[in-house]
């Protein structure tokens, strides 16, 4: 080990006026719900999610699973997307979404069929997200083999599907779930299309991430 780690930790201990790291510490401050929580209810989460997400310039539509892929095709065509990559997640696989999209004239590939470099050439990404937060209108994706990070990042159009069971009321609930279920190798929260306000505070939509994010919340 070329760099001695005990050095900085030693400095920290000395700064805190002790020679040894304590084996136990008092519990961190209690997070009191009335102060920190914004959403209490479990009812109407889809509508609340939609309201928050629209405020963040996301497009949101509540729909039934029967109309889902028809609506996806319409949206992709409206946005001139000729190709789309899909997450290898149960819903999209079981319902053979790629096959249907191909039949409708859109080149559709599952994430398992393409390389990371190829993902740069797709017009859109279709994902099934792990959670959606009603408070903030955020889509939450856990990185894993079936769900590549690039799908919701590299193309200019991101279409997400939210299952009702995956809606959580508040950010606090999300954090609790992530702690309980684990984060995997990483988690991304997506709260709208990519944007910047660096130039004279002018909001420009679509910088390095997608400039269009459409979410279908299943009913």
């Amino acid at each position: 080990m070329p760099y001695d780690p005990s050095n900085v930790l030693g400095l920290i201990r000395a700064s805190l006026k002790r020679t040894r790291t304590p084996t136990e510490v008092p519990a961190p401050p209690v997070i009191e719900e009335p102060i920190a929580r914004l959403v209490y209810t479990d009812i109407g989460l889809a509508e609340l999610f939609a309201r928050s997400a629209v405020e963040l310039k996301m497009y949101v539509e509540l729909c039934s699973i029967d109309d889902l892929f028809e609506k996806v095709v319409d949206f992709l065509k409206e946005k001139n997307c000729k190709s789309v990559m899909l997450t290898d997640t149960p819903l999209l696989k079981n319902l053979e979404a790629a096959k249907y999209l191909n039949e409708q004239g859109i080149v559709a590939k599952m994430w398992s069929e393409i390389t990371l470099d190829q993902s740069y050439d797709f017009d859109a990404g279709l994902t099934e997200v792990d959670y959606a937060v009603a408070e903030t209108g955020s889509l939450v994706v856990k990185h894993r083999p079936e769900h590549g990070r690039a799908i919701s990042l590299v193309p200019f159009v991101h279409v997400a599907i939210v299952q009702p069971k995956n809606l959580v009321p508040d950010l606090l609930d999300l954090m609790e779930k992530l702690q309980k279920d684990g984060t995997g190798s990483g988690v991304t929260m997506i709260s709208g299309p990519s944007k910047t306000a660096d130039i004279e505070m002018n909001v420009v939509i679509g910088v390095h991430g997608p400039n269009v994010v459409k979410t279908f919340v299943l009913q």
């Binding site: 760099y3 900085v8 190798s185 929260m189």
Partner: protein, 490 residues
């Protein structure tokens, strides 16, 4: 610094110049702030930006059931983490290693640079995409990497503009608040050799196309970190553009450089922090992207880093930690709310503070980390109005610490000898009522005489009072002093 310049393979000319300048000039706050305060264009650009962010913050905090109590809670969480920093840091490190990451601890900025360059070299990477990080600005990392022959590109739009203009960021979250769009357009036109166009949308699109190729080809990603979660070894990063997501998606190797003070104990604490950070920074309910990562990709993943390195840097932070009085300054989550609220920052912009951390918080951090004697003027650059304290999401009592630093300046006798002389003489004269009355009498008539030709306003007095009247006038003293009036009444 000169050793680094020699080591550089090929070496970028501008980086060499930048690094030399960064160490050559002595900080003269008076000179730079006077110049900045007179720059109307700068003031307009800065005010336009920070007033909008400050208003946004105030409006967005109203979403919260009790923002004041939530700020207290956030401050308490950070304070607790600092009070047991050794415990939580060790827990964090163990967890990152469990996740498959490599952790390094750097005592100084130089040590951090060496560690990072070693990592890049060992990994055999050359094309670096770097997302915005204040701690990397602290050690001029991008320039150092360029000097080492690496192709480094700042991918945050603002930082990219800073990079191509060989400038420095002037705000914690909005690095180019000091630039107007015409300046940026001119720079783009020179850099990309394209016709002048100052439409923000087009400028963005141009950078997007250029940087997209950089992302695609990159083999080394670099990020900072907003929070380090001890209980699971995860780093949380916030951003709006998506460039940071790129750093954790495309390159083969990922390096994260963070200050040791970023620790929080639990994921639930992250929930609290996220509710406050973006609201306080830009008036957003949440940033567009929140990235949580803490190790290499898992087996079977096709993207994400194969190697994950995390460098935890001290670089003066333990200096602040050891003082029980100043420790709470390390609570800072770099939201920039105190900058936006500060009447001084609004008038002089960020560059005048002579360090990467500007504004009220910078006036504390810079002297404490880099030495009070060089930066002793910064704590004086405040009217102590308290707007910063009111804005701070983790309730750092900034005005109190500014006063304490002034106290330290006097206590350690690093203030100007003449200042000490004046105060001693004043104290001495106040010990004698007769002398005080005599001086007051003399002062009154000198000032009244001077004001006579200026309509009752004192506009110019001899040294040392000239420093005062250079920038302000004051009304002439009354004909009768308070003492005289009091005597008359009784």
């Amino acid at each position: 610094m000169s050793t680094l310049v020699q080591v550089g393979i090929g070496g970028d000319k501008h980086s060499a110049e930048f690094l030399e300048q960064a160490h050559a000039s002595k900080f003269d706050f008076h000179k730079v702030s006077v110049k900045a305060a007179g720059d109307e264009k700068l003031k307009r650009a800065v005010n336009n930006a920070v007033l909008r962010q400050d208003t946004g913050r105030q409006v967005r905090l109203l979403d919260l059931p009790d923002s004041d109590k939530l700020r207290t809670l956030a401050g308490d969480i950070k304070q607790h983490s600092l009070d047991y920093l050794d415990y939580y840091l060790e827990q964090f490190i163990t967890n990152v290693e469990k996740n498959g990451g490599h952790v390094y601890l750097a005592k100084t900025g130089d040590e951090a640079k060496k560690i990072i360059l070693d990592i890049v070299k060992k990994a055999g990477c050359r094309r670096v995409i770097k997302s915005k990080s204040m701690v990397s600005e602290e050690i001029n990392l991008a320039h150092v990497m360029e000097m080492a022959g690496l192709d480094v590109v700042e991918t945050d739009l603002g930082e990219f503009i800073v990079q191509i203009s060989h400038d420095k960021p002037s705000h914690l979250v909005a690095p180019i608040v000091h630039m107007d769009r015409q300046t940026i357009a001119k720079m783009f036109s020179e850099y990309f050799k394209t016709p002048y166009n100052d439409n923000p949308n087009d400028l963005c699109a141009q950078a997007r196309v250029y940087l997209r190729e950089k992302f695609r080809e990159s083999d080394f990603g670099m990020t900072g970190g907003n929070f380090l979660v001890a209980e699971n070894g995860m780093v949380a990063c916030v951003e709006n553009e998506g460039n940071q997501r790129q750093s954790v998606t495309t390159p083969r190797v990922l390096l994260t450089l963070v200050g040791i003070e970023k620790i929080i104990p639990r994921m639930s604490d992250l929930g609290v922090m996220l509710k406050l950070l973006s609201r306080s920074a830009t008036g957003q309910p949440i940033t567009i992207y929140n990235n949580i990562f803490g190790g290499p990709r898992s087996a079977g993943e096709k993207d994400g880093p194969e190697e994950f390195h995390l460098v935890l840097m001290d670089n003066g932070r333990t200096e602040i930690l050891q003082s029980e009085e100043y420790r709470e300054i390390l609570r800072c989550i770099r939201c920039g709310a105190c900058l936006n609220a500060c009447p001084i920052y609004r008038n002089i912009g960020g560059h005048a503070y002579g360090s990467v951390y500007p504004g009220p918080i910078g006036a504390l951090i810079t002297p404490l980390m880099q030495g009070l004697s060089e930066f002793k003027d910064l704590p004086a650059a405040s009217s102590l109005c308290g707007a910063c304290y009111e804005a701070c999401p983790v309730k750092i009592n900034i005005p109190k610490h500014l006063v304490n630093l002034r106290r330290d300046t006097v206590g350690t006798k690093i203030n100007h000898p003449f200042e000490r002389f004046v105060y001693r003489a004043w104290a001495w004269s106040l010990h004698s009522p007769g002398l005080t009355a005599f001086i007051a009498f003399g002062q009154k008539w000198v000032l009244r005489l001077q004001s006579r030709s200026h309509g009752g306003w004192v506009t110019k007095v001899p040294f040392p009072g000239s420093g005062w009247t250079q920038v302000r006038d004051m009304p002439a003293p009354a004909r009768k002093t308070f003492h005289e009036l009091w005597k008359q009444r009784n």
